[in-house]
Subunit: 193 residues, 2 copies
DNA sequence: AAATGTACTTGATCTAGATCAAGTGCATTT
DNA sequence: AAATGCACTTGATCTAGATCAAGTACATTT
């Protein structure tokens, strides 16, 4: 259950057996079936979760009922509404699973205590967040700078696994375009070849 | 020269006088005149910089010559191309100053050594990056979910200082809309009142 | 196996925002 | 003080992508 987790941690920091054992105690495993919610808007995000396997998504729903994909997370990724998690404010996010998933969950109290007891986790999260900023910044540049077709081809180039694994209508939403436009963009690209 | 800097640090972590003295040694002060470059595309981003005062911007320039604002940074903010800084790869970013600025610069070697010598800086940057993720995620949601008018009003609500301090054409670029559209949006909003 | 639902495609139309173009008012340079 | 150059505005037109609508193909439920 902690296999992917510790593999992922050890890619960024070195952990002793003692530290690993201690870290484990802060997490609660949880299984989530396809389509089940982990968080619904209006609730507080009480857990920051690591995905051992499976696939989750987070999204907002606007006044017209349209979903806007914020993030996808599969094996080795973290998921949550960090703002709500840290501040205790109500979340506007929905989080549910696209595929059956196994998760490791930590509360805010656990998160904070773990940092004090296992200081190397400060380093781990510093590096994790650092990388996250880089990818969010890229997505942002993509979003403000390019046409629908370019957004898609750049995403496909930077993140081919995402294209294979995520349904097309969710990719469209992730890019901020309609499913119809994405369908036409793809048709267009396949004709070009 | 380090006033804003240590005030900012102490908002997030506690530092002894010794730690402060040691931290200082890793930074080089620099003054940057209005319109001067700190980084040009094609160069490697050798410094991560803290803005003591003044105002910087980072942006990409696309094939058509259009600028796309990535970030603004004034007193108390950090600026750089984190990806290029950490990886040593060439940057696509340009960074220059909108207002005369005083900066504190650290190299990658300095950054890494500082983390080892003053471990509480891991915590500082973890918290800094954490907050940065929250604001980038908001900007991203704004970008994929809303109309030009909504993008502007939401930015103005979340970040009124930005509206006051940044020229309108740069705000337009930051939002991913044209200056003409932003001008019309503002006219429209002032008529509504 | 039938029925229902959902993802995706394709076509027709509409519209928000881009583009192009000209004009105004400041600020900076000479 | 004149001249040059931006930032911003306003108008006219164009277009990429949204919306609306219908049809097809799987997948899931009953």
């Amino acid at each position: 259950m902690f296999q992917v987790f510790f593999t992922h941690l050890q890619e960024k920091v070195v952990l002793s057996a003692n530290e690993q054992a201690l870290i484990k105690t802060y997490f609660t495993p949880k299984k989530l079936r396809k389509k089940q919610y982990l968080l619904q808007e209006g609730d507080v995000c009480r857990y920051f979760v690591f995905v051992e396997n499976g696939l989750l998504r987070s999204y907002n729903v606007d006044e017209k009922g349209n979903e806007h994909m914020i993030q996808f997370a599969w094996e080795g990724w973290w998921m949550g509404d960090i703002y709500s998690f840290l501040s205790g404010e109500l979340s506007t996010y929905n989080i549910d699973s696209i595929e059956d998933a196994e998760l490791l969950m930590i509360t805010l109290a656990g998160f904070e205590e773990m940092m004090l007891k296992v200081p190397v986790m400060e380093r781990y999260f510093r590096i994790l967040f650092q990388n996250n900023i880089i990818s969010k910044e890229r997505r942002l540049i993509n979003s403000i700078s390019y046409s629908a077709e370019e957004k898609y081809t750049r995403l496909a180039a930077a993140n081919p696994q995402l294209i294979q694994r995520i349904p097309q209508n969710l990719i469209a939403s992730y890019l901020g375009i309609t499913p119809e436009t994405l369908s036409r963009v793809r048709k267009n690209l396949s004709n070009k070849k």
